[in-house]
Symmetry: C2
Subunit: 304 residues, 2 copies
């Protein structure tokens, strides 16, 4: 009988599937970052990511079809942004329940294609099948200049930890259906500040910072008072609510200072320092409002 997937969890699953990865000379980074990185040409890497959205888990039927389509593509674009890249081509699979109005499907596509146009993504194919509940899977290609690629595993002790916007209360407020992936922010950063590590926040700040620390083999101290919160969000929601889709990144101290003094705000960007990377095991210490340090769980939002 063994373990059920509920006990193993998503990251247990990801660890257990790494062994099935088949080596290939074109693979620069495989399973475990926001997107796979493949060799493309002398100057660029190709990026490939995929995300599955299931009705009742990632959205409810009362969300508008346009929003659901928007979210399905936006999650994928966010993964490409997290590598420092630009999205290029998408294929879309739909599992559609019998009796679903054709109008609902058109509006799904309208939501996807409006966002695709905004980010120059070409929808080049897909698959449509019957399913009991609505399922949307998108696979998205992207590109990044070799010099601009950012992984999760480059954070070093002394680096400053940033996020690109307020966190928490994203599911309740509906923001998870309408967010714009942080492509412009990511490109501004890779072109001007070369982050040492970057990823998007889909599992809460604690969960995803935990992944970044594990990949980089470092620890972190974050300040409760610095964590930016969405209206209605509490600390727990920011740490482990999930689906914020802001970027989490680290910069060496000198470049962090330079970013803080830059005109990023004039471009409408917001880069908020929330803590620092330290030597040691991949643990997060939270400095509370009284200045007391406590280790927090990096488990983040649980998919199972």
């Amino acid at each position: 009988m063994g373990k059920s997937i509920d006990r193993l969890g998503e990251f247990g699953l990801i660890d257990s599937i790494r062994k099935y990865q088949y080596p290939s000379s074109r693979v620069v980074e495989g399973i475990g970052d926001d997107a796979a990185v493949l060799k493309l040409d002398a100057r660029r890497y190709q990026l490939l990511t995929t995300d599955m959205l299931v009705e009742g888990v990632h959205f409810l039927r009362d969300a508008s079809a346009r929003q659901v389509g928007h979210k399905a593509l936006a999650c994928n674009i966010s993964d490409i942004a997290a590598m420092g890249g630009l999205p290029t081509h998408a294929v879309i699979s739909l599992g559609l329940p019998s009796g679903l109005p054709a109008r609902y499907v058109s509006q799904l596509y309208e939501g996807m294609s409006a966002l695709a146009r905004k980010f120059d993504v070409s929808i080049v194919g897909g698959d449509t099948v019957r399913a009991d509940t609505l399922v949307i899977n998108i696979a998205l290609l992207g590109e990044v200049e070799k010099k601009h690629l950012v992984l999760r595993r480059g954070a070093c002790p002394g680096d400053v930890i940033f996020v690109t916007g307020p966190l928490g209360n994203t599911l309740h407020s509906g923001r998870h259906l309408t967010f714009l992936p942080r492509v412009k922010e990511a490109r501004f950063l890779v072109e001007n500040y070369k982050p040492s590590a970057m990823m998007d926040i889909s599992d809460g700040l604690a969960g995803d910072l935990g992944h970044l620390l594990k990949a980089s083999r470092v620890g972190a101290v974050i300040d409760e008072i610095r964590i930016p919160l969405n209206p209605g969000a509490g600390l727990n929601s920011a740490l482990s609510g999930g689906e914020d889709f802001e970027l989490l990144f680290t910069l060496p101290a000198a470049r962090a200072h330079s970013l803080a003094c830059s005109a990023a705000g004039k471009k409408g960007f917001s880069f908020i320092q929330v803590g620092v990377i330290i030597k040691g095991p991949a643990r997060i210490s939270l400095r509370d409002r009284q200045g007391v340090l406590k280790t927090i769980s990096a488990s983040g939002y649980k998919h199972f």
Copy 2:
């Protein structure tokens, strides 16, 4: 309320989504062939395809997890073969019901990775989410030399129509869970015989020949007596049973003659002539065992 997707059907849906395709200078072929074709370098195109499999629709829980994993990747590899190409990199999304044994998931991956190794496919990432029923989506990249690319739309009057093996009774016999995608056959053909059109047979011979005729703007006459049948298969099952995953291709008469006289059989390949392409509307005429011609429906297997 408008049409439901049941009335529109899969190909109605595909037609209706073409308008959402965003133009891009890298896209050679978008929605509507077995895989999308993108520019890669001076010599090669990149191919991208995706397929979604849903429990209860494409497989039942009593199929072994290894077989289900095998099938999920095999369908995608078949799409790449149908363009004349070789598969390279895959990303795998799993929607997993709560309580599914972790062992089932390992065996799914084992089925996929055994096939991946056989065809030099590298599994480079994916997504795992919770779902009420088991859903597997794979997106697969491939490559093809520009000179070897074959589309659905190149068939000309006078071309001979071939299939690569027996058809029908695939679901009942379980063959849809164990088939090997026809990559070797496709490569042999593109390297030696340059098919004028090619695709894989997933919706029955009538259904998929119908798509090929529509794309090529030609008609066809097929001979009942020539259609190769699997054990237990009747004509209807071959014409519209679905999930055979043999290749359907066309060759100009001279090259067809040359293929018939070749040593293909010694390589274990079987290329069976089933009819000819004719001028006229995209209709299939079936010559029955009495030599009587009748027009048959090209609707094939219905997904909705």
